[in-house]
């Protein structure tokens, strides 16, 4: 099938239950809680011993040093100019929050199941990251999960810092 439907974001879809726990500044919030974070290079971390017991690796901490809506008001956007990502104990990346010139749609594949009511999430065995030129397969459909208009960008290399956060 050469024509693949691309469904718009489902407004009444099950929003992520943890979305209201979103720790990021509200500007970066989206209905599903999805956000974009870009950094130069790659994050390396030791291979987890047992993936089933530790589904994630804590990389570091995001800090928005200028974000202070109580003092600057909710409308303040100057805080966007500075974001730090502390990695481990003595590396720091400096970045900023950028408004995207063009919004990004976060798209994923969705498989039609049974009566079409129940939509499955992302299937691992289908996850070849190749959505356009896969010719065969089951009724393939895509959906826009979220529309993201900001991203956190770290475009410089990490700088060394001491444990208390001061630049060495």
């Amino acid at each position: 099938m050469p024509t693949i439907p691309l469904h718009p974001p489902n407004s009444h879809s099950t929003t992520n239950p943890t979305a209201n726990l979103n720790p990021l500044p509200p500007l970066l919030h989206t209905p599903t809680g999805l956000a974009l974070l870009e950094l130069q290079g790659t994050i390396h971390f030791p291979t987890p011993a047992d993936p089933s017991t530790s589904p994630f690796t804590r990389i570091g901490t995001l800090v928005f040093p200028l974000y202070n809506p109580e003092i600057n008001g909710a409308e303040d956007t100057k805080w966007m100019k500075r974001v730090y990502l502390y990695v481990g104990e003595n590396q720091r990346l400096a970045g900023e929050v950028k408004k995207l010139g063009k919004g990004f749609a976060v798209v994923r594949r969705r498989e039609r199941v049974g009566d079409g009511e129940e939509m499955e999430g992302v299937e691992r065995e289908d996850a070849d990251g190749d959505m356009v030129d896969r010719g065969q397969g089951t009724q393939e459909e895509l959906e826009i999960v979220e529309l993201v208009k900001y991203k956190i960008v770290f475009s410089t290399r990490p700088e060394p810092v001491s444990k208390d956060g001061a630049v060495v």
Binding site: P5, H7, N16, P23, P55, T61, L62, D133, L147
Partner: protein, 345 residues
Amino acid sequence: MATQQDEGDVPFSVAHDMQQFRLLELPPEIVELIESANPPALSIKSRVPSTTPNASNASAAHAVLCTANKTFQLRQVQTSNSLFVTQPVLESHNNEIPTPTTRAIASCAVTLELHPSDENPRIYLEEALPLYDIVDGEVEAAGNGKNKASIFADVPVSDGQAERCWSELVAFEFSGSSYRPSANTLSQIWKSINAAAVAEGIKLDSQFLADDMTKVADEEGYPVALVQALLKRRLSTDNQDINGPWACLDRPRTVQFVGQMLLEARRESDDYLTAGFLDTWKDGLPEAWRGDAVLKVIDGKYELPSSTTIRAKARSGTSSKEDNTASKGSSSRKWHAKFGRARKK
């Protein structure tokens, strides 16, 4: 909320089990569509690989995103940076109290850009639709067994654009297949319609019952769907209800169409006299319209190979094969003239 972090500090983690997302950079007009109260369905189309014999990887290159009536080319953009999609989760680290955390759940090495495309669907439709030709009263047509919907699904443009081109080609569905009529066939049908209109005293540029005309054409063996496509879409005035019983032809459009089809039907011949063409054109129109048949009406559609002859202008770019060979034959003889023209520009 009590956390062990400084206020505003956000723990950041990376999931081991990454999900698969694609990031699609959207132009403002599509963002607007998606954010509207009733977002329309979009689709991603690609050409069927089998129709492009010598371009095996063309399907990826030809993937497009379609709205109802616009087409956008999809282009992959690689980035050397790591671009993560993150999600808020409650996460407990080293047996701490669970804290709200931003977790990267997908990494996207490639993003997709959308570029507006105004590619003409004509070559795709011409390729997909077999020619419906009538030679000496015998129908020559090999059905493709495809209806309009399945053909549109294979054409890498929006349905709206495909529909416009479908009407332009006077394409029609007939006994399980879809066809495009030859210029010759269209000329013949037009002749029948015009003759019938004269006989019945029907003014074609005012409201008339379409059935009166399709009946005549049906008796002469033309597919009704084809006659309808001609009268109610291709030649119709814009405000006509396509599904109603009435038809009304757009006079300038019809005059132009008749002239163009006459020329197209004689595309192969090299010696069509301009004077003879103008006479046939005028004769093929209702009496009151004769004066409308002047070359200005088909401006850009013809060329004058000599001071006395005329022919249909060779279509630019990739057109059907017979056109290519025809124009190649004539242009190779005049390559110096062609170069001279190019230099003047």
